[in-house]
Amino acid sequence: MSETATALLSVKGLEAWYGESHILHGVDFDVREGEVLTLLGRNGAGKTTTLKSIMGIVSRRRGSVRLEGNELIARSSDQIARAGIAFCPEERGIFASLNVEENLLLPPQVRPGGLSLDQIYDLFPNLKERLGSSQGTKLSGGEQQMLAIGRILRTGARLLLLDEPTEGLAPVIIKQIGQTIRTLKAQGFTILLVEQNFRFAATVADRYCVMEHGKIVERFANSELDANMGKLHEYLGV
């Protein structure tokens, strides 16, 4: 089976700059329909920049990003979102001037077929209880993360970019997020996940790409994880 035939997202030769500093030096990978692909790599490797470049948030970028064959590299980030990609940022991006419900309902529907509010509450029962609570940012870290994931599930986007969703969270919450990702995958979502925690990633990922200095330096499937442990420790510096 050729990779491109079933690739939902295809990234080729992606380069990106912040001002004058050249951060991504030709990133190549495909995300296949229905899989969870995990980007690993130590701090500063360029994982977040990769997601932001796909999303059109980094304005100076070059290369090719195709979703279902459509080139997105020259589009603005609102157009990219409307093409069907949803983004959950590393810092979660919960709005302080919006209450919990407004935060949840903020991202507009870009396609039919998103989850209903009830389905989202099924995934995150805590969210429903906290709807009345005033400010989105008054939630706990875990609840904020669930809100940040929950709100992009309504949009109808089938490709989710999740940037370190477990960062700084308690083990029990990490478990819950892992369960959520598996459920979403079972429901047909395709997920590009950025993680530093490969023990967590191992519970959800189908394949891995390892980044270093703005490039993909290693690719392997979940079944090959053990064989690659030595190298991984080196790359991640753990």
Binding site: I57, D78, A81, A96, S97, L105
Partner: protein
């Protein structure tokens, strides 16, 4: 007639009424400034000129097209708002990434240009604009005489202020605005055309100034410097209330109008400076303003 603190009630309530009228304009204008600053990060120094533009547009519409006050109330904010949109597309959109100072200088320059052009054609004496027939006259409330038009201005500006507050704080569109004020990049990455929203927000804020101009025309004369006289006080109001709070702008606007009115009764010598004294005190105690969020 009776007296309060040794002041005849007619005089006291007359000044309070004047204070409320002024407060209505302070509130409308500082509200527009707050909306614009929140979204564009620009201190719109052209706000006074745009208010003046509103009054002149109403004057022209009546003079040349025979469109009355009520039509102007609807049409002028749209016309002035479109002028704002053109200004944003032509000039302001290039300044968002720069320091506040650039937006301030640009809009200050625009204000000078707009006012200069009008002064050139219309001199500095005011042009009269008649109170609409339906609101001519007044009524005796017992403790004071209330001209109908002034009552209308207070009521209508209150309605406009509260409607704007509702739009921003309680609707979906307002949620987009508040979110984009906090984190425009992320809101855009959710699929919302934030640049267009910014343009329309500026148009809306400027349109509010135009609306205030129409409402002011029958009270103050229509004159080229009507905006620059008012805007200095409005900026003091904004400093006191704090940039970026909608309700803060409204409350501070009306309150300072009232305080100014009271000062005229009890300590007339200070009436022109009272607001600036309050501004100085607020700046010392709460530099971000009474309702301001510290950056």
């Amino acid at each position: 007639m009776f007296e309060i603190f040794g002041v005849p009630s007619q005089a006291l309530f007359g000044q309070l009424l004047l204070g409320l009228i002024n407060g209505s304009f302070y509130a409308l204008l500082s509200l527009g400034l707050a909306v614009i600053f929140g979204m564009l990060n620009i201190i719109n120094f052209a706000h006074g000129a745009q208010y003046m533009l509103g009054a002149f547009t109403a004057f022209f519409l009546l003079q040349y097209l025979g469109w009355n006050y009520w039509v102007s109330l609807l049409v002028v904010p749209i016309i002035v708002g479109i002028v704002g949109i053109i200004i944003e597309r032509l000039f302001l959109q290039w300044l968002y990434k720069l320091d506040h100072l650039y937006g301030l200088l640009l809009t200050f320059g625009l204000a000078l240009v707009i006012e200069g052009v009008f002064r050139n054609y219309f001199g500095s004496s005011g042009l009269p604009y008649r109170v609409p027939d339906q609101l001519a006259g007044g009524r005796n409330l017992g403790f004071m005489y209330l001209p109908n038009y002034r009552g209308w201005v207070i009521a209508f500006s209150l309605v406009v202020c509260l409607a704007t507050w509702f739009l921003i704080e309680r609707t979906k569109l307002g949620a987009y605005l508040r979110a984009a004020t906090e984190n425009p990049t992320l809101v855009r990455a959710f699929g919302i055309n934030v640049p267009r929203m910014i343009t329309l927000t500026y148009g809306f804020g400027v349109g509010l100034a135009g609306l205030a101009g129409v409402m002011a025309a029958p009270i103050y004369n229509v004159s080229p410097q009507m905006g620059s006289n008012l805007i200095i006080i409005v900026f003091a109001v904004v400093v006191i209330g704090g940039m970026g709070s909608i309700m803060g702008a409204i409350v501070t606007g009306f309150a300072l109008g009232l305080i100014e009115g009271l000062t005229k009764v009890f300590f007339p010598e200070a009436s022109n400076t009272a607001i600036f004294v309050i501004m100085a005190i607020v700046l010392i105690i709460r530099p971000a303003g009474l309702f301001g969020r510290t950056a």
